[in-house]
C-alpha cells in the first residue's frame, strides 16, 4: 500500500475500478498505451477488441498478474497497483476456465473461501448456495471437472469466481469454446447471475454480438488504446472511429461525400438496416434513392444482407430473409434523410 498516494474515493465515489495511464510493454513492443478507464459499481462492462488489441493483458494487469509500466490501478478508491493478486479480492474466469482438475465442482467453488480461513463445512455450504445461483445440478456437484459438460464447467468457473464475494468479476472470453446455442444460453445466464449477485463485472470479448447484447457499457480497444467507451447503442449508432463502426457490425462507410449529408473526405456511416427497400416514387424530402444491381447476397435466416452497386458505390442493405434477391437482381432502396452518422463531424447529417 502506498500511503502517500491520494485516494480517489471522494472524487469518483462510484468507480469500483479506475485505471490511470496504464501502459505495458512486452518484448520491446508496447502492448498498452496509457489506458484510462473507470467502471461504475454494479454494472456489466465489456472490453471489446480484436485479437492482439491488449484486452487480456489489461485484464491481467487489473487482476495483479502483470504490473503496469507506468500506470496506476485503483480498486475501490485504493491504489492497488502493487497489490499481489491474492490481496485484490477479484474473481476471475479464464478463457480456458482453469478449473482445478483434482477438486470436485463443490471444492473448486469452496477453494476461495477455504484459503480465506472459512472452515471446510461452512465453505461447502456456502459453495452450495453459489452453485444454486449459477444453476449447477445437485448430481454434478461432487464430480471432477473432467466429467462435466462445457456448460457445467462454465457455471463452476463463474461460481468459483463469485463465491467469496469479489469486488469485481473479471471474465476473459469465457464463452469462446462453446457452441453457438450454449453460448447464447450462457450469456443469458451470465446476465441473470450478474443481476442477482449485483457484482460489478468486466467481460473481455472479441465478439461484437456478445458485447452489444450483454453489457451496459462497452470499452472498445484497438492496438492497446481505448477507442471509445459508452453504452452499446451509442457505440453502434454514433462511433467516433470508422474502424469501430466496421468492427461493431456491418457498415456502409462512405467517404466520397453525399449531397446534404457529408463532404468529400468525411466519413459517413450508414448501417445496412437504415437503408429501406423502396422505389424512387416512395421517397420523401431529403431521402436519397439508391438503385443498382445485387453484387452479393448473404442469407442469414431471418434476414439477408445484400451488397449492391449504385452510383459507383457498394452498399450493404438488410432485407427480410423471405424476400432474398439473387445476384444480378435490380435493387431499389432509399437512404432516408434522417439516416447515417457523420463520424468525422460527430453528428447526424
Amino acid at each position: 500500500m502506498h500511503g502517500n498516494e491520494p485516494s480517489l474515493t471522494s472524487a469518483e465515489p462510484e468507480a469500483i475500478l479506475r485505471l490511470s495511464g496504464v501502459s505495458f510493454a512486452h518484448g520491446g513492443q508496447t502492448v498498452l498505451h496509457g489506458i484510462d478507464l473507470a467502471l461504475v459499481a454494479g454494472t456489466l462492462t465489456t472490453l471489446l477488441g480484436p485479437s492482439g488489441s491488449g484486452k487480456t493483458t489489461l485484464l491481467r494487469i487489473i487482476a495483479g498478474h502483470l504490473q503496469p509500466a507506468p500506470g496506476t490501478v485503483w480498486l475501490g478508491g485504493q491504489n492497488a497497483t502493487h497489490f499481489p493478486p491474492e490481496e485484490r479480492g477479484l474473481g476471475m474466469v479464464h478463457q480456458h476456465l482453469a478449473l482445478f482438475p483434482h477438486l470436485s465442482a463443490r471444492r473448486n467453488i469452496s477453494f476461495g473461501l477455504e484459503v480465506r480461513g472459512v472452515p471446510r463445512r461452512e465453505a461447502c455450504s456456502r459453495a452450495d448456495a453459489t452453485l444454486d445461483l449459477v444453476g449447477l445440478e445437485v448430481t454434478a456437484r461432487d464430480r471432477l471437472p473432467d466429467t462435466l459438460s462445457g456448460g457445467q464447467k462454465q457455471r463452476v468457473a463463474i461460481g468459483r469466481a463469485l463465491a467469496f464475494g469479489p469486488k469485481l468479476l473479471l471474465l476473459d472470453e469465457p464463452f469462446t469454446a462453446l457452441d453457438r446455442q450454449l453460448r447464447q444460453q450462457m450469456r443469458g445466464e451470465l446476465k441473470r447471475i450478474q443481476r442477482e449477485s449485483g457484482v460489478t463485472t468486466l467481460l473481455v470479448t472479441h465478439d461484437q454480438e456478445e458485447a452489444l447484447g450483454l453489457s451496459e457499457s462497452i470499452i472498445a480497444l484497438r492496438d492497446g488504446r481505448v477507442v471509445q467507451q459508452g453504452a452499446p447503442a451509442e457505440l453502434y449508432q454514433r462511433p467516433r472511429d470508422p474502424w469501430l463502426a466496421g468492427f461493431l457490425g456491418d457498415a456502409n462507410l462512405v467517404t466520397t461525400g453525399i449531397f446534404m449529408r457529408s463532404q468529400p473526405g468525411e466519413v459517413l456511416l450508414v448501417r445496412p438496416e437504415e437503408l429501406l427497400p423502396g422505389t424512387r416514387r416512395d421517397h420523401g424530402d431529403g431521402d436519397c434513392p439508391l438503385i443498382g444491381q445485387a453484387h452479393s447476397v448473404s442469407f442469414r435466416g431471418a434476414s439477408c444482407l445484400v451488397t449492391f452497386e449504385a452510383d459507383g458505390l457498394f452498399w450493404k442493405m438488410l432485407v427480410p430473409g423471405e424476400n432474398s434477391p439473387r445476384v444480378g437482381d435490380r435493387i431499389e432502396s432509399i437512404l432516408p434523410a434522417t439516416a447515417g452518422w457523420n463520424i468525422s463531424r460527430g453528428c447526424r447529417p
Binding site: A98, V115, R116, R160
Partner: protein, 260 residues
C-alpha cells in the same frame, strides 16, 4: 475397425515379445530359487525342492542385507526426488531451443554410459556408501527427470494463477494446487528411482566396497563367485517381488486432493 481394436493390434507384437522374453526367465528364476544347490560343478539339483534359500534371506545376515538394500533404495529415491523436482519445475514452460538444451543437458552425461561417470566418481570420492549413493542418484536422475517433465508439461499451470487470484497465498497454492497436480509425476519418478535403487548394482559394486553390499551385488557374488545359483535365484525372486510391489503402489487419494 474401432480405434481401440487398432491400438490393441498394434500393441500386440511388442507385448508378445516382452511376454516371450520375460515370462520364461521368471519361470526359470522361480524354479531355480526352490532347488537345492548342486555339489561340485553343477548349478543346482534338478527335481529337488527346498525353502532354505528364502529362510536364509529372511534370517540373520539375510535380513541385514535386505534392510540395507531397502534403506539404500529409499535414500536413492529421496536423493533423486530432492534434486529432480527443483531441476525440472522451471522446465515445464520451456519451449523450442531452451527445452532441447535442457533435455540434452540432463541426458548428455548419461549417454556416455554408466561406467565413465562412475570411474570419475571413484577418482574424486573416497570409497564408501556415500559414493555409491551419489553414483546411483546420478545414474537414475535423467530418467526420473524425463518422467516428471513429461507429466508436468501435460498440466495446465494457469490454475496456479487462478488460485492466487482466488486469494490463495504462495504457500497455499503450492500445497493445495501445485503439489497435488505434480504428485502423479513425482510419484512415478519416485517409483522409478526406488525400483532402480532396489536393484542398485554398479554403484555399490564399484564404489561402496564390502560394507555397501546390496541384494543385487550379493546376487552377483553368489552366482558368479560362489556358484550358488539357487540362492542367487531366490535373491532375484525377492528383488523382483519388491520392485513389482513398488510399481504397483498408488498414492493415497487424499494426497491427490480428489473429490470426496
Amino acid at each position: 475397425m474401432n480405434p481401440g481394436r487398432v491400438k490393441a493390434w498394434l500393441t500386440a507384437p511388442a507385448l508378445g515379445l516382452v511376454v516371450a522374453l520375460v515370462l520364461p526367465t521368471v519361470v526359470v528364476l522361480l524354479r531355480l530359487a526352490f532347488c537345492r544347490p548342486a555339489h561340485g560343478t553343477g548349478f543346482y539339483q534338478p527335481g529337488s525342492f527346498t525353502l532354505e534359500h528364502f529362510q536364509r534371506l529372511f534370517s540373520g545376515d539375510g535380513v541385514a542385507l535386505l534392510a540395507f538394500t531397502l534403506g539404500f533404495a529409499l535414500a536413492v529415491a529421496a536423493g533423486v526426488l530432492l534434486l529432480v523436482c527443483p531441476l525440472v519445475w522451471p522446465m515445464r514452460h520451456w519451449q523450442g531451443g531452451w527445452l532441447l538444451a535442457g533435455a540434452l543437458l540432463l541426458l548428455a552425461p548419461r549417454l556416455a554410459g554408466p561406467l565413465a561417470p562412475l570411474v570419475a566418481l571413484k577418482r574424486v570420492l573416497p570409497q564408501g556408501v556415500l559414493a555409491a549413493w551419489l553414483a546411483e542418484v546420478y545414474l537414475i536422475l535423467p530418467y526420473a527427470a524425463l518422467v516428471l517433465l513429461g507429466h508436468l508439461r501435460g498440466v495446465d499451470w494457469t490454475v496456479l494463477e487462478t488460485a492466487r487470484g482466488l486469494g490463495a497465498r504462495r504457500s497455499q497454492v503450492l500445497r493445495r494446487i501445485a503439489l497435488p497436480l505434480a504428485l502423479p509425476g513425482i510419484w512415478l519418478a519416485g517409483q522409478l528411482a526406488l525400483g532402480w535403487g532396489l536393484g542398485a548394482f554398479l554403484g555399490p559394486e564399484l564404489l561402496a566396497g564390502p560394507a555397501g553390499r546390496t541384494l543385487a551385488s550379493d546376487l552377483h557374488h553368489q552366482a558368479f563367485d560362489n556358484s550358488r545359483w539357487p540362492l542367487a535365484a531366490a535373491e532375484g525372486t525377492v528383488l523382483l517381488l519388491l520392485v513389482g510391489l513398488v510399481f504397483l503402489a498408488r498414492p493415497p487419494r487424499r494426497w491427490l486432493g480428489e473429490a470426496p
